[in-house]
Structures are given as C-alpha cells and as structure tokens.
C-alpha cells in the first residue's frame, strides 16, 4: 500500500512535468516546478518508509528549504531581471 502511494506520487510528478514543459506562461511553469518540489518531498519520505530507512526525512527537510527559496528567487529574478535588488517596499516604482 505504501508502494501504491509512491506510484501515485510518481504519476502525479510525471503529469505535472507535462504542465511544466507546456505551460503557456512563465507562472504556470513556476507553479508546476513548485508543486513538483512538494511532491518530491513527500516521495522522499515515502521511499524512506518503503525501504525501512526513515533517515531520508533529513533530505526531505533540506528539499523543503531549497524549494521555497528557489520559488522566491525565480519570481524575483523574472520581476527585476537581477538578484541585486533589495526586496523592501520603499523606493520601488513597479508595484
């Protein structure tokens, strides 16, 4: 039954990859990549329980951290075309 859950998560990742490759806008692709990251976190935990080594959860914590930072960094880059801009609300004219 745990194997069925892992298989369902792999199917969900494969289907979400279709949206990531064929998304009409940039934001569809970012959404798909973020969602794939969340599903990979769950899949890491499930694989850990499937193989009897729940130490995989440390890697899952790391993936959760990286996933959030990557989403915010991609959005910031495509808004300002640079990573050098500060994210404070003052002194910004694009909002």
């Amino acid at each position: 039954m745990i194997g069925a859950a892992a298989l369902a998560l792999i199917i969900a990742i494969a289907l979400m990859l279709v949206r990531a490759l064929s998304g009409p806008t940039l934001y569809d692709r970012v959404l798909a990549v973020n969602s794939i990251g969340t599903k990979i976190i769950l899949l890491l935990g499930v694989i850990g329980f499937l193989t009897g080594r729940p130490d995989f959860l440390d890697i899952a914590i790391l993936y959760a951290l990286i996933n959030f930072v990557a989403t915010i960094a991609i959005l910031k880059f495509f808004r300002y075309r640079s990573f050098q801009v500060s994210l404070s609300r003052r002194g910004k004219d694009g909002a």
Binding site: M1, I2, A4, A5, A6, A8, L9, I11, A12, L15, M16, V18, R19, P24, T25, Y27, D28, V30, L31, A32, N34, S35, T38, K39, I41, L42, G45, V46, F49, P54, L57, D58, A60, I61, A64, L65, N67, F68, T71, I72, L75, F78, R79, G94, A95
Partner: protein, 118 residues
C-alpha cells in the same frame, strides 16, 4: 485496560497510516489533473496550492502513524510545519507576481471571453 487499548491501537496503526498515505497521494494526483485541465493560470494555482497543502498534511500524518520512533515523528512535524508555512506563502507570491506582471484572470463563462492566455 490501558494495555488492551494500546494493543488494539498498535495493531490498527499501520493500516490507518497506509490508508492516509494513499489518500494523500491520490489527492496529489487529483490536484495534478486539475492543474492540467483548468483553463486559466489562477484556477490552476488554486487547484495546485489547495491540494498540495492537503496532500502533504494527509501523507505526513500517515507517515507519522507508520513511524517506529518519536524522533522520526519529530522530523515529520518539522517537514509538515515548513510545508504548511511555505506552501501558501509561495502561492501568494506567485499570484502576486502574475497579477503585478499584468496577467488577466479569465472572466465569464468558458468560450465566451478570451480573457485567458490560451
């Protein structure tokens, strides 16, 4: 009496955990089908963010019921807390960025207006 309840709970725990894990994974598939079939970016974002948070909660509760020791439950709680805080935050950042960039939501019935991006 307490021992009897604990015995029943320990016999019932793996089945309940596996069932919750499977429900969470199926919910992830359902959300992905929604992302593939909805017509607009904002509706796709809605489907993805809601089902991601719910699927993560269900699957992590299932894994916590399956776990052999309390340290693993603690790690699962850390993962769940982080996903629960960052999932809606990144969804809000995505919607805010798309709205600021001028992506218009589709308004009206399907096929009536061309407000979407397809």
């Amino acid at each position: 009496m307490i021992d009897l309840i604990l015995d029943y709970w320990n016999a019932f725990r793996p089945a309940l955990g596996s069932a919750l894990l499977l429900v969470g994974a199926v919910l992830a598939v359902v959300g992905t089908i929604g992302v593939l079939r909805f017509p607009d970016f904002y509706t796709r974002l809605h489907a993805a963010s809601v089902t991601d948070t719910a699927a993560a909660t269900l699957a992590i509760v299932g894994m916590a019921l399956l776990s052999p020791s309390l340290a693993i439950v603690f790690k699962l709680i850390v993962v769940w807390l982080f996903l629960f805080l960052t999932g809606p935050t990144s969804s809000h950042a995505l919607a805010n960025a798309a709205h600021t960039a001028g992506l218009q939501p589709m308004i009206g019935k399907l096929g009536e207006s061309d407000g979407g991006d397809e």
